[in-house]
């Protein structure tokens, strides 16, 4: 075929393809799309400390874990918590604690068709929740934010996170490599911004806990709030730059 015909056919094919892509634009990504309205969790959220639950006072440790912790406490007492806490020394959170803190640091949810991002302020972390994606490969390295997979159940987003960096037995909230966090996210009416985000967070960790633990978190819509630039250890740089020492008492 001559060049002109080839271009005509190519244009036709391209135009058809383009038309199809425009025609199908805006539809939800999942192949088995249902006609349920899926809520949009986008926005900046702050924990509602009054409405949110708390981790139980007595946690159901396995006998082995309870023994390990008793040994550890005996070996390390007394510890000065004003200085010896990894988070106040700027180690970022792991899951689920990233989502269950009630201190007033906001996070931002950004929704795109196949991925939901969560940007936190306090340690500048980024969660990526892939919707309807295949499970992570076994070689996936652990990280503090883990690997998250989401699927819609009606108007609730169910997120499972694995590959979370383990926290040792003596830490405030120990976690083993077996840890799996399941979150059920939904929107509810109410709260100062008119809508609230509800997150039922369940921790499954058979090496640490005899049974799963669930917390129900409520976040309020923080209209007009932006996630700020906040770097936990900036005082060390500022002090170095200015030739002074950090004013933070627990450094």
């Amino acid at each position: 075929m001559n060049t002109r015909m080839r271009y005509t056919r190519l244009s036709g094919a391209l135009l058809t393809a383009l038309a199809f892509s425009i025609l199908f634009s805006g539809r939800a990504a999942a192949a088995d799309e249902t006609v349920v309205a899926r809520p949009d969790f986008s926005g900046v959220w702050l924990p509602d400390s009054k409405a949110s639950g708390r981790w139980p006072a007595q946690r159901p440790f396995t006998p082995a874990m309870a023994e390990l912790r008793a040994k550890w406490e005996k070996a390390t007492a007394p510890i000065d918590l004003t200085r010896d806490d990894e988070h106040i020394s700027c180690m970022p959170y792991t899951l689920p604690y990233m989502m269950t803190t009630i201190t007033q640091y906001p996070f931002e949810i950004v929704s795109t068709p196949r991925r939901i991002y969560i940007f936190t302020e306090v340690y500048g972390q980024v969660r990526r929740i892939d919707i309807d994606a295949p499970p992570p490969s076994p070689e996936t390295l652990p990280s503090r934010t883990g690997t998250s997979r989401g699927r819609w159940e009606g108007s609730q987003l169910v997120v499972e996170t694995t590959n979370i960096l383990p926290e040792a037995e003596g830490s405030r909230y120990p976690g083993s490599p077996a840890l799996k966090v399941v979150e059920r996210l939904s929107l509810a009416e109410g709260g100062p911004g008119g809508k609230q985000l509800v997150n039922e967070v369940t921790m499954h960790d058979p090496l640490v806990y005899r049974e799963p633990i669930t917390i129900r978190m409520v976040y309020k819509l923080a209209t007009g709030v932006e996630v700020g630039e906040y770097i936990c250890n900036q005082d060390l740089w500022d002090a170095h730059r200015d030739g002074t020492s950090s004013k933070i008492p627990w450094r």
Partner: protein, 250 residues
């Protein structure tokens, strides 16, 4: 026209990662789709001129540059803008919504770097608080995203070899998609640095990025962990050991 259609459809082909369904299909209403993970192409980075048009003050800072003294990244502080767009080691993830564009880097420093670029048409504030990533505004001019950024901390470097800027720096970027022979579609960022206090003329460069949908940005935190161990924990180790000796433990 064929090239434009090809460019549009180049995005349609990839089905992994967000926002790759083509210009209109991602719902943002944006003329082009730049969402996804991009890798800087160091081989195509336009170098700065050999003789940089620096003011005497800026030149003196470059000449006296000492990385361990003057580079904030040695304290796990961010690259900041524009160094985050000029560096060629780490991937860049662009998140695109109708209201704004976000550019995300996770370069193994204390925090992820998240540039938030609103597209709402509001003017830049007069004198925003200086910050690492700056205060930005973006707008579409045809298929080019024009971004202006001000309010940048002067203790951030422009490059790892000591190029600096003053608090007056204004960064102007023009981002667009281009087709490069033998490479395919690339993202190009034409960057201009306007800073009369530091540069006698604006500094200009072009940086290229290639799509890398197979890359997932990770959260490596060895910088902050090493800093913690080095600056914050070593003393405690000694204190614990001393307390242990005092209590008669071995």
């Amino acid at each position: 026209m064929i090239a434009a259609l090809l460019a549009t459809l180049a995005g349609c082909g990839k089905s992994d990662g967000p926002g790759t369904a083509g210009a209109a299909a991602d719902g943002t209403g944006a003329p082009i789709d730049i969402a996804g993970v991009w890798l800087p192409d160091a081989s195509r980075a336009e170098p700065w001129p050999e003789q940089l048009p620096l003011t005497p003050a800026a030149r003196s800072m470059v000449e006296n540059f000492n990385p361990s003294e003057h580079d904030p990244t040695t304290f796990c502080m961010p690259f900041g803008t524009p160094r985050n767009m000029l560096q060629t080691d780490y991937p860049l993830e662009i998140v695109q919504t109708a209201q704004r564009v976000m550019m995300v880097l996770q370069p193994n420093l204390a925090n992820s770097e998240v540039r938030r670029i609103p597209l709402d048409g509001n003017p830049l504030p007069e004198s925003p608080d200086p910050s690492w990533y700056g205060t930005s505004r973006g707008r579409w001019e045809g298929s080019t995203l024009v971004v202006e950024t001000i309010g940048l901390r002067p203790d951030a470097l422009v490059s790892g070899n000591g190029l600096r800027h003053s608090e007056e720096l204004r960064v102007i970027e023009k981002l667009s998609l281009v087709n490069v022979p033998e490479r395919g579609q690339m993202l190009v960022d034409e960057i201009e640095l306007h800073d009369p206090k530091a540069y006698e003329q604006p500094l200009k460069t072009r940086r290229y990025f290639v799509r890398a949908p197979q890359i997932q940005l990770r959260e490596p935190t060895s910088c902050i962990e090493l800093q913690w161990i080095d600056k914050l924990w070593r003393q405690r180790l000694e204190e614990h050991a001393a307390a242990g000796r005092k209590a008669g433990k071995s």
